[in-house]
């Protein structure tokens, strides 16, 4: 199994271990994520119908509603949030949701910014280990 390491920048530090779910299209969680199930429900989005709960969601940035953060907070409380979120730039919405989840429920999720090239190299289904310093250990192929 091919393994490599991506050096990301930890925006909100934390550990996560899971299967990558990758999209190159931005997402609004309000109107785009059902926090009761973890399913992506944006009819305009290529991941519509896919469940992201517990997976490592790679999405370039948030778009749309300010309520994206509140939906993510609900998802953390309900146990349906992604295990981590990887972005291309610094996305304040995802970071804020993780910070408030930490304050309210002592449960945060890592948010890591990647270079455009590293982001583009990610594939759905790869197994990812996110470390506190922002490093991502990646093994292609079947998730373990």
């Amino acid at each position: 199994m091919a393994e490599r390491v991506i050096a990301g920048r930890a925006i909100v530090a934390g550990d996560a271990d899971g299967e990558a779910l990758v999209t190159d299209e931005s997402l609004s969680f309000w109107g785009g994520y059902d926090f009761k199930t973890g399913e992506i429900i944006d009819r305009h989005h290529p991941l519509n119908g896919v469940n992201a709960a517990g997976r490592i969601l790679a999405v370039p940035f948030s778009k749309g509603s300010s309520t994206t953060t509140a939906v993510l907070l609900e998802a953390v409380r309900a146990g349906t949030a992604p295990a981590a979120i990887l972005t291309t730039g610094v996305d304040s919405f995802f970071a804020l949701a993780s910070i408030v989840a930490d304050v309210m429920y002592s449960k945060s999720f890592p948010v890591v910014a990647l270079s455009a090239n590293d982001f583009a190299s990610l594939r759905t289904g790869a197994h990812l280990l996110v470390e506190r310093d922002g490093r991502i250990l990646l093994s292609d192929g079947e998730a373990r």
Binding site: F35, S66, T67
Partner: protein, 418 residues
């Protein structure tokens, strides 16, 4: 950080200030801000009740004695406090959403309950530093008024209001407000630009083209009324992440293309044609037949000017008994419409009015309502996902004619011939 900032952070100004300031400071680190700065107004989008987490956050702050430190308006809530019983809202939802409303009122915010705070007495002024949540209001404040707000998310907006401090970054700073990409309208006739669907459609397209950049729109040949700019901002902030835009000749900071780009060069230039606009307009319609259960107007909340435009279209007429006709608005606008004499003909037509909230923020529509028609690109964008409804997008006149006919009727002549 000032002495006051440190006093907040170490708890000397009470536990609510401490909680709020701890979140502002952590976010300053996320943004890479060198310092904090003052704001003099806030608009709170955290009012939208989603579930236990949003309620627990609001009640935690309120129970700690949180008070807003600047004039603060409130966005829509999860329930029409006085009218919810006429709809499919469960008593449990209504009770919890009302508790969340009460929590924010207890913090000293003004109960405006609207997503169009720029159409109330709390409209900010040019250059004013503010912390606003609500995507459409952020884009309007920056792009139409020239007030300065970052794109604030729910849960952070209230922390900024409590501390009156924000990280000094992004759209608060002159250089960060510069345009990054140019969208040129080419061969788009003024007659089409005068159509009341035009700016909503343009906004939908601009949101998609801009991605994460500040767009500059050149080629607007008309003077758009404020509600058209409202429709543009709401559409661009739904299909995309537009928090700031420059419309040449409209945005106060964009008298010219050079000024909008602050004399820098666009990263990209995209020409938009009538064909592109037609395609964008088509995307807003997800229904395929002429069936119609409900006409829905008012996202963002219907204004007095919109009530004035609607009244003569419906005067002396009746909506078809099979079609519900709903307008979502604010208490203030309803009162002003009533005083202006334009509410009575709307009510006589058979329209109902929902206040404080909207069909997306409150689970109010009964399941038998499956097909909607609207002149709002924001409703058209979100309703398929949030309500599992099929939507037809059309002009205000199309919406009225369809409600009377009992089925979708659209005048396509202008969009086909343009």
């Amino acid at each position: 950080m000032t002495d006051r900032d440190r006093e907040m952070l170490d708890g000397r100004r009470g536990p609510a200030c401490q909680l709020a300031m701890s979140i502002v400071v952590r976010m300053a680190d996320v943004y890479g801000a060198a310092e904090l700065m003052d704001i003099s107004q806030a608009h709170i989008d955290s009012t939208i009740y989603l579930g236990d987490a949003t309620l627990e956050f609001a009640e935690r702050l309120a129970s700690l004695g949180a008070r807003v430190a600047v004039p603060t308006s409130l966005n829509v809530s999860g329930v029409d406090e006085c009218g919810w019983k006429e709809w499919a809202v469960s008593p449990e939802w209504a009770a919890k959403a009302a508790r969340q409303m009460l929590a924010y009122e207890r913090m000293g915010a003004v109960p405006t309950w609207t997503c169009a705070p720029y159409q109330t007495h709390m409209r900010p002024s040019f250059g004013q530093q503010i912390a606003w949540g609500e995507s459409n209001a952020i884009a309007f404040a920056n792009g139409v008024i020239g007030a300065r707000t970052e794109r604030y998310p729910d849960l952070l907006d209230i922390c900024c209001a409590i501390t009156a401090r924000v990280p000094a970054v992004g759209l608060h700073l002159t250089e960060e407000r510069a345009g990054q990409m140019l969208i040129r309208l080419t061969g788009v006739p003024a007659a089409l630009q005068q159509d009341d669907q035009f700016f909503a459609v343009l906004g939908h397209l601009v949101g998609k083209l801009a991605e994460d950049r500040v767009p500059v729109i050149d080629g607007v040949a008309v003077s758009p009324p404020e509600d058209q700019l409202k429709a543009f901002a709401a559409a661009a902030a739904s299909s995309g992440r537009v928090a700031m835009f420059h419309m040449i000749g409209v945005t106060p900071e964009a008298a010219s293309v050079e000024q909008a780009f602050q004399r820098r060069s666009p990263e990209e230039t995209i020409d938009v044609t009538v064909a592109d606009l037609r395609a964008a307009r088509r995307e807003l319609t997800t229904a395929d037949g002429r069936e119609l259960d409900m006409v829905i107007l008012g996202s963002p909340h219907f204004s007095l000017a919109e009530f004035r435009a609607l009244a003569p279209l419906v005067a002396g007429r009746q909506a078809h008994p099979r079609v519900a006709f709903l307008v979502t608005s604010s208490r203030l606008m309803k009162e002003q419409a009533d005083e202006a004499g334009v509410l009575a003909p709307v009510a006589a037509f058979g329209a109902r009015i929902t206040l404080d909230t909207c069909i997306l923020a409150s689970p109010m529509l009964p399941p038998e309502i499956k097909t909607l028609m609207t002149n709002s690109a924001k409703y058209a964008y979100y309703a398929p996902s949030l309500l599992n409804a099929r939507v037809t997008f059309g002009s205000l006149r199309d919406c009225v004619e369809s409600a009377v006919a009992g089925r979708v009727v659209r005048d396509e002549s202008l969009w086909q011939s343009a």
